[in-house]
């Protein structure tokens, strides 16, 4: 499954969703954790290190929250697959099973399954702090006796007894006992026959693991074809009813551990009307619920833009300052240009989005930690299913208005693969922050400054319409894909709505750190490479084309008596034309002419492929702006934009002599930029999340094709 070097000691953290597992993980590892990126696996696992008292390092792997070894989502399948295969790279030496002590009667099913698999297990009874305040009494030593495992009562939030847990882990690592007075669940006659036959044929030494192979023979990734065939034959000849057996086993296990829980845990009677009930009466109310949700989303949206403005300006200033320092201290040559126009421009392109991504993740993580997201899933499941998605997709789509990259990463919580895939494919339709500068320039050009209603200007309306276009495109393509992807896979809503809790800040900061660094390192690498490549393409041309263009342009500039600034711009424009990028723009001109674009817009389209925000900068250079790219990118400098607009207004087609930037062309460009896939980082993250280049390729052609078609229709309608 993975080519990772074999680590000496592996500790698995396993438990139900909402058991507070990740909080315990954070307590055990702190910042010494990372999200592994394992080839061929769509689910990332977090790993962390702990140092044992003898100086040895052990790896802790945080497995996805799981209810049972009978999986219903890709997350749970991963856990079942690892536990069924002792040769797996993740197969643990020791398991720390985390259970919510306030809900123990629902949290022990998987523990009994792990014990029957013969795994060395420590039971960590989490949330001891909540249990204390609720007045729950726990007889730890009796639980330990009954299950014959070490038991530690811990609190991930307060950190209480975490060192005791570490000590138990160490003890068990040194002496990995598996308890022989098992199994907890006794196989029935058919199951026994199946398990024994599997043991004989496939060399398995644990009856329950053998039974697992039979249960999961259809999908377990590590099975060889002949093994799968043998298992299928065994299942068939023994007439082994998989689902029936799984349900019966589950119920039998509950019958065995429920009395133990009742014997060892003393709970005060439940209050009928807890704070969670009172909050949910408002937050999930039939009418108020959606209204509050939209209000929360507007706030989130507002925060992303408002709070990020200053840090974004600082980052821009920092990079333009660095740029100046390099320009003044280094000699003017190609290497300095590569540093400033390639590397620095690329780095700035990554870093400038970090504030928005950080704020988005901060707020979304808080909503998640508090328990609100599960309620959103409940409220919007039906609505999103009409469009081939899941309640969870709302979260990704909203996130897409800042940046599609983290939004796509947040779709991991969707269990059903088809619904998750559709969410990944349509999220980039939502207008992200990188489209804003493009919209500003084009709307200013095409839409007159008139008031439509008493306070709304036509320009504002078009701006809003661009966002609406994105939402409509996302939902409509979801609707189409739902019918297109025929694969039928059971889809579940069935989700636990956890008790509302205050966010645990250590979790929030660690998640934030993890997401932001994943963006900078992962997607950032791609942006950097592409911007260096773009720099090279526009800096160099075939043969001596650039030199020839420079000489010709300076002669022409002389004859036109241009001043020094205009001469410089004129030369750089001619150079760009002669470069590889310029050649490419001219090459694609016939293809984009039906949309009303000339070759210069063609270059802008090509440079925008890597990142759409390059558009305004490219146009600034192309249209002889007399100002640097940074001035145009500076959103506060409206004057620069106005000049660009004036220049664009005066542009004429070479053949017809008509204006290039008619209303039709500008609207057509707007629609194109709203719908087209012009973001290398998004494609890179889609590849990472889907595990192959197949889906990003389809996404690229689907989105860009749709953009071309719609832009053409708009151009024809308005010209």
């Amino acid at each position: 499954m993975s080519e990772k070097p074999v680590k000496p000691l592996k500790i698995a953290l396993i438990g139900n969703p909402n058991s507070g597992k990740s909080t315990v993980f954070n307590q055990l590892t702190g910042l010494r954790q990372k999200t592994g990126n394992f080839p061929g696996v769509t689910v990332d696992l977090k790993e962390g290190n702990i140092r044992l008292s003898n100086g040895e390092e052990a790896v802790i792997i945080d497995f996805p929250g799981t209810y049972s070894v009978y999986p219903t989502s890709s997350d749970e399948k991963l856990v079942a697959a690892v536990l069924a295969n002792p040769a797996d790279a993740f197969f643990p030496d020791v398991i720390v099973y985390v259970a919510d002590v306030t809900n123990l009667e629902k949290h022990l099913l998987l523990l009994t399954q792990l014990l029957d698999l013969g795994m060395p297990v420590i039971l960590a009874l989490n949330m001891s702090d909540t249990a204390d305040t609720m007045g729950i009494k726990v007889n730890v030593s009796k639980i330990s006796d009954e299950f014959d495992v070490p038991v530690v009562l811990v609190s991930g939030r307060t950190g209480s007894n975490i060192n005791k847990l570490t000590a138990e882990i160490e003890k068990l690592l040194k002496n990995p006992v598996t308890w022989k007075k098992r199994p907890i669940y006794r196989l029935n006659e058919t199951e026994k026959q199946v398990a024994e036959t599997v043991c004989l044929n496939l060399d398995v030494d644990n009856n329950y693991r053998a039974l697992q192979l039979a249960h999961h023979h259809k999908w377990l990734p590590f099975l060889k074809d002949n093994e799968r065939a043998v298992l299928a034959t065994i299942v068939q000849t023994k007439d082994f009813q998989l689902l029936r057996s799984q349900v019966d086993e589950t119920l039998d296990r509950y019958d065995r551990f429920t009395p133990i829980v009742q014997d060892t845990i003393q709970k005060p009677p439940l209050f009928p009307n807890t704070p969670t009930d009172r909050i949910d009466a408002i937050l999930t109310n039939k009418w108020l619920g959606p209204i509050i949700f939209f209000a929360v989303m507007m706030l989130l949206f507002q925060a992303i833009f408002d709070w990020s403005e200053y840090p974004m300006t600082w980052i821009e200033d920092l990079f333009s300052g660095l740029n100046d320092v390099i320009l003044t201290t280094f000699p003017t040559n190609w290497f300095t240009e590569l540093l400033t126009d390639g590397v620095l421009a690329g780095l700035a392109g990554i870093m400038v989005f970090v504030p928005q991504i950080a704020i988005l993740f901060l707020l979304v993580t808080i909503l998640e930690e508090v328990g609100y997201m599960a309620r959103v899933v409940f409220m919007f499941d039906k609505f999103m299913r009409r469009f081939g998605m899941n309640g969870r997709s709302v979260v990704a789509l909203i996130g897409g208005s800042a940046c599609a990259v983290p939004a796509i990463m947040s779709s991991r919580t969707i269990g059903n693969w088809k619904e998750r895939l559709i969410t990944i494919l349509v999220t980039p339709f939502i207008s992200c922050s990188a489209r804003i500068p493009v919209y500003l320039v084009l709307i200013g050009l095409a839409v007159p400054k008139v008031k439509v209603f008493w306070f709304l200007s036509a320009q504002t309306l078009v701006f809003g319409a661009m966002y609406l276009l994105g939402v409509v495109a996302a939902l409509a393509s979801g609707w189409v894909m739902k019918r297109w992807f025929r694969k039928k896979e059971t889809s579940f809503l069935a989700i636990e709505l956890p008790v509302y809790r205050m966010p645990y800040w250590k979790n929030v900061w660690l998640t934030l750190w993890e997401k932001v660094s994943a963006f900078v390192l992962g997607a950032g690498k791609i942006i950097l490479i592409v911007s260096i490549a773009l720099w090279a393409l526009s800096r160099f041309g075939p043969g001596t084309a650039i030199e020839t263009a420079r000489v010709e342009a300076s002669i022409k500039a002389d004859s036109l008596h241009l001043d020094s600034v205009h001469t410089k711009d004129y030369i750089s424009q001619r150079e760009l034309e002669a470069s590889w990028a310029g050649q490419m723009g001219k090459f694609i001109e016939p293809a984009i002419r039906p949309l009303g674009y000339d070759w210069k817009i063609g270059i802008a389209l090509l440079t925008s492929f890597a990142a759409r925000e390059v558009f305004t900068g490219t146009l600034a250079v192309l249209y002889n702006m007399g100002s640097s790219e940074s001035e145009i990118n500076d959103r506060s400098d409206n004057a620069a934009k106005a000049t660009l607009r004036d220049k664009l207004r005066r542009e004429k087609f070479r053949d017809t002599g008509g204006p290039v930037y008619s209303l039709a062309t500008a609207l057509s460009l707007l629609v194109f930029y709203a719908l087209a896939m012009q973001c290398m980082s998004t494609l890179a993250v889609v590849r990472r999340e889907t595990g192959s280049w197949k889906w990003p390729t389809i996404q690229f052609f689907f989105m860009s094709g749709l953009a071309y078609l719609c832009a053409w229709v708009v151009y024809v309608l308005f010209s």
Partner: protein, 78 residues
């Protein structure tokens, strides 16, 4: 009309509870039992979702959201 031996969450009024007897669909049974929705426990309907077709229920004090198909598969005592 034949008298019905079971009803489901879809038949419950808000705040009404009934004892779960069984789960009719085995795939759903596998998922729901693993989550702790067990025959013999009391199921209370708390509210309907805003766009319909989803149910907020309480089982043994634990809150769940279920789709109509999931809710319908839980057979309740009449």
């Amino acid at each position: 009309m034949m008298q019905r031996r079971y009803r489901s969450i879809l038949d419950l009024k808000i705040k009404e509870s009934a004892k779960a007897l069984a789960i009719s669909d085995s795939e759903l049974a596998c998922k729901l039992t693993a989550m702790g929705v067990l025959p013999g426990t009391m199921v209370e309907l708390v509210r309907h979702s805003p766009f319909g077709s989803a149910y907020y229920v309480k089982v043994d004090g634990i809150r769940f959201a279920l789709r109509a198909e999931e809710a319908a598969s839980i057979l309740l005592e009449v």
